[in-house]
């Protein structure tokens, strides 16, 4: 599959839309009245200074936080709030800012755990681990191995991920998300704390996912170079509000964005 052009995206189907979402913790407003959409097949960046509410926004999208106001439409179905299970079952996968892997499990088990939702053989077959349960296990093991090949992590297949260096952990986490064969992949700072080479690798994986599997991606990233190179459209948050939305070039020139990043005397 070929990555769609900007024009195609603009005309494309909306995969997910948030409208007027507001979220507060006690008296602290994390997100106020934010609306934007994510179209099928695009790479959508969410940027903004620290504390702008970016991660909270992802948490709203996959149902971990329930906003006090607003609506979320995913695959044509509108809800007040997403539920984690519904989001995952609907094809939303996620990586985390501070790697949230299953630390004592091996790389392979982490990726296999990502396929839990796709495995259905009952408890009865599980206790025998023969027949249907075993063939299901083998079938999903094949998919897991494809992901391992794709991310070039064959050598760490059997190592508990807690023992891996940070850069590899990020990669395994991406693998675990991929194992869910998501329609929408949320990446929370996939390149934070990485060196240049690791960033380039990660960018390559993100682009290939988008190109070959057609996965729609929403990512939070602080490295502007990466954001501008990778993303099709960018939404900018500041203090929980949306201050800009458009192509990387448009956003770069936006006055409000420049002010938010450089700071102005109010």
């Amino acid at each position: 599959m070929r990555a769609p052009s900007v024009a195609e995206i603009a005309a494309g189907d909306v995969l997910l839309a948030v409208e007027g979402v507001s979220l507060a913790f006690g008296g602290v407003k994390a997100v106020s009245d934010v609306s934007f959409d994510i179209r099928k097949g695009e790479i959508r960046a969410i940027i903004g200074p620290n504390g702008a509410g970016k991660t909270s926004m992802l948490n709203v999208i996959n149902g971990f936080y329930h906003p006090q106001a607003g609506r979320i439409t995913f695959k044509g179905k509108t809800r007040r709030a997403m539920r984690p299970h519904a989001a995952a079952a609907g094809g939303i996968a996620r990586t985390f800012q501070n790697v949230a892997l299953f630390k004592s499990m091996t790389t392979l088990d982490n990726i296999m755990a990502g396929r839990s939702l796709k495995m259905h053989k009952s408890f009865f077959w599980q206790i025998f681990r023969h027949g249907p349960a075993l063939s299901e296990e083998i079938e999903h093991r094949k998919t897991a191995e494809e992901i391992i090949d794709f991310l070039e992590i064959e050598h760490i297949r059997r190592i508990p991920v807690g023992k891996l260096p940070y850069g590899l952990q990020k990669r395994v986490e991406l693998g675990r998300a991929l194992a869910m064969e998501p329609d929408l992949l949320l990446l929370d700072e996939p390149m934070a704390g990485m060196n240049l080479e690791e960033k380039e690798d990660m960018s390559r994986y993100i682009l290939s996912m988008n190109n070959y599997y057609g996965t729609t991606i929403a990512l939070i990233e602080h490295d502007m170079g990466v954001v501008m190179d990778l993303s099709d459209r960018v939404v900018v948050l500041d203090y929980g509000r949306k201050i800009a939305d458009g192509t990387p070039d448009e956003v770069k020139k936006n006055k409000a964005v420049i002010d938010a990043y450089l700071g102005v005397a109010h």
């Binding site: 913790f25 006690g26 991660t55 948490n59 971990f64 985390f96 800012q97 501070n98 949230a100």
Partner: protein, 326 residues
């Protein structure tokens, strides 16, 4: 008929003989004070080291046992003045509690810094068993009598003629309530006003961060374990004066756990209010409703009160609401 027995009959009884009701209430109150004291020891350690110290109950028994044990040894050595021996023993026991705090810090806590909470929690199970074995090995397994008289603790009753009946209060219970409130006030001041108190709170928030600003974990932990050792010793003396000193007392520590759920792990006021609620609830429940279920519901009633409560307010009475982050 059953509904009548549950919802109406007990209250009729309460109204019919108010003196009995007050008596039960008072007993609940006293039990509550002692629960609160045990819970206080838990809270102290939890606040400062993030360790849920399951051994707190055993420290109560261990403190009391050590006191009586040392006293007996001193008397055997020929210190004829009972009061002198008693206070000497008290001083030595305080020393033992300090050594215990020091040893726990060196041997258990220090190697486990930054481990998951649950690992530290389980380590205190080990401590519990070790202290049981050690205490019995040194002082023998038989139960002992608390040296209450020798420590000038009051005894006897005060009979109050109220509500057309007699309510009798044990003087030792009154003393317990007074001492407990003095201790709580002192600890609250210590936590909020002193430099060490502030350091304690910093350590509770994060071991790593506290270390990085130059707070000595070793020192803080020894202090706080020593403080809760003292609380345990006082609790042990009070409880021992009402019954006898043996490892059977450890059950009271298990009874005190629901108090923590109720009050929250980090709140001193929570420990006190929780202790009183559980103490009173238990005694009233057993006295007025116990017959319906067969006796002995004391052993689990507190847990049920706490559990029901927990389902509606997982952070306890005074705890802060937890916001989960990813």
């Amino acid at each position: 008929m059953l509904l009548y027995k549950i919802f109406i009959d007990p209250f009729v009884q309460m109204g019919a003989s108010p003196d009995l009701f007050v008596q039960t209430l008072w007993e609940g109150l006293v039990a509550g004070v002692l629960y609160a004291l045990i819970a206080l020891g838990f809270v102290l350690i939890f606040k400062a080291s993030g360790v849920f110290n399951f051994a707190q109950g055993i420290m109560v028994v261990f403190g009391a046992l050590t006191l009586v044990g040392i006293y007996e040894i001193l008397v055997r050595w020929g210190i004829s003045q009972e009061n002198v021996a008693a206070f000497l023993a008290l001083g030595l026991t305080i020393g033992v509690m300090f050594l215990l705090a020091f040893a726990v810090e060196r041997i258990v806590l220090k190697p486990l810094v930054n481990q998951p909470d649950i690992i530290l929690f389980m380590a205190t199970f080990g401590l519990t068993y070790f202290l049981i074995g050690f205490g019995e090995y040194v002082f023998g397994g038989s139960s002992k009598v608390m040296i209450a008289d020798q420590l000038y603790l009051p005894k006897g009753f005060i009979d109050l003629k109220i509500l057309g009946g007699v309510v009798s209060l044990q003087k030792i219970d009154i003393a317990a309530a007074v001492i407990a409130s003095i201790m709580v006030t002192g600890l609250a001041l210590f936590f909020s006003k002193t430099r060490i108190g502030r350091a304690l709170r910093a350590v509770a928030d994060s071991h790593k961060a506290a270390l990085s600003v130059g707070i000595s974990l070793d020192q803080i932990w020894v202090i706080v374990w020593f403080a809760s050792g003292l609380v345990a010793l006082v609790t042990g003396i009070m409880w021992g004066a009402r019954s006898e000193v043996s490892f059977a007392l450890e059950v009271i520590a298990l009874r005190a756990l629901p108090v923590l759920i109720l009050g929250g792990f980090t709140s001193i006021p929570g420990a006190i209010v929780g202790g009183l609620i559980i103490g009173i609830g238990e005694k009233l429940g057993d006295f007025y409703w116990g017959a319906l279920l067969g006796r002995g519901i004391e052993s689990w009633l507190a847990y049920f009160i706490a559990l029901v409560f927990l389902l509606f307010r997982p952070q306890g009475l005074f705890g802060e609401k937890i916001i989960e982050r990813v």
